[in-house]
Symmetry: C2
DNA sequence: TAATGTGAAAGGCTTCACAGCC
DNA sequence: GGCTGTGAAGCCTTTCACATTA
């Protein structure tokens, strides 16, 4: 069985024509941990004390102390027993783990209600991202300015982004158009997509998609309401 | 060890001053399954064939056939071996499980960019919800109309919603104001909250909160980008 | 003393594999 | 022959408990 927790340098078996060799994987961080690191970072951004304990961080960001410690153990940082973690150092470690050493460019496709709201969302800039493009198909939207960002024609996508392989593409168009936009992004060299359309995207394995479905969140809450009152 | 999958009527042990009794829990659906049921429903809404197989549904909504079958087994529906599931019946079963037999009311607090976008999002109405209130603190927003919904003063929250215990409250205000809005909702009788502010809410156990953090999704994508190129 | 770091145990979810049924 | 229903196995995640260390 594969070890998942424990030593920080994990190993993983790979089959290869019957033989097996072991390949060293550094800092293979579990996906559940990555999601929490994001919350820890958001907390640490407004922490003023010079150090925090795992219990303090858990109280601010959610979870419990043991989980915080296990999560942080993947970073290679080491806290100080009896004291806690040095705030500034931990902040930097998490930023590094999340690939935020430099500001990461984001483009938004779709300048409708949602796309416009995202373009103007102050939380993105505050947390390591820069909206460096807002694109739309509709000619009457092209040329207007939304939340300080100029709306460009979707055909200019390729020209506007110097290195799409390090950027994130956000899909904020109706479900019917989502796959076409995904294909466009992938064709332009994007490898990370955040999809707000309630549609399953088909993409090659080299491309990562995350799906945010607002109605789905309401469905889940609705289910629990029904369970309790029934 | 507790049985989780298998027979549809689960039992659960409850400690009670040393004695243990077994209490029948019908249709205790795992949270991961509930999230997928939402996607299945979205697919089924646009399915035209009179029946679907688990593999077909998996292809449309994501996942694999075995998972679809296991998920649907919690509903108590039974498909037809050799054929599949009857589309209309399945759709109704899932709606029932998600508490969508009647249209579920939703109120949005915060009529800024995000709140306005949500109020105008056609996906909500299409998938079983009605936006029946949009509230804001700012007096210059009150009285205006956003996406066909009138913005009301937040003080009128209690009057506007007949039965808050069956409704869902959506928080779309800045992080600093989120806890105050949550307290307001809970005081008014809400028991389900969808929170878009990147802030940890403290609520009594009777209230369920779901958190959608847009920047967090970008963090996760950013992490994977960094892992691959580094 | 007060906290971290981490094996081990427990819990929950997904996948497998196949019996059962239409 | 095709597809469902479901134990069992395996994997991933969380929690526990405690040795360890500043």
């Amino acid at each position: 069985m594969r070890r998942l927790y424990g030593p920080r340098h994990h190993t993983r078996n790979r089959g290869s024509f019957g033989t097996r060799y072991r390949c060293r994987v550094e800092h293979q961080i579990p996906t559940a941990t990555v999601a929490r690191l994001s919350r820890y970072l958001t907390s640490l951004e407004v922490t003023t004390t010079s150090s925090v304990s795992s219990d303090e961080l858990a109280a601010k960001a959610g979870g419990n102390g043991a989980q915080v410690r296990k999560d942080l153990s993947f970073l290679g940082t080491t806290g100080t027993r009896g004291v806690g973690y040095e705030t500034a150092a931990l902040r930097n470690e998490i930023r590094r783990a999340l690939g935020l050493e430099a500001v990461r460019p984001v483009v938004i496709i779709g300048a409708g209600h949602l796309g416009s709201a995202l373009a103007g969302y102050p939380g993105f800039a505050r947390r390591g991202f820069r909206i460096c493009g807002l694109f739309d198909q509709a000619h009457d939207r092209v040329g207007t300015t939304v939340a300080g960002v100029r709306v460009s024609d979707i055909d200019q996508l390729t020209d506007a982004i110097p290195d799409p392989a390090t950027a994130i593409g956000v899909i904020a168009v109706p479900a019917e158009a989502a796959q076409a936009v995904a294909d466009l992004l992938i064709g332009a060299g994007f490898r990370s997509i955040l999809n707000f359309a309630p549609a399953l995207l088909t993409v090659p394995p080299s491309v990562e998609v995350r799906q945010v479905d607002l109605a789905s969140e309401l469905h889940i809450l609705s289910h629990h309401l029904a369970r309790r009152s029934g």
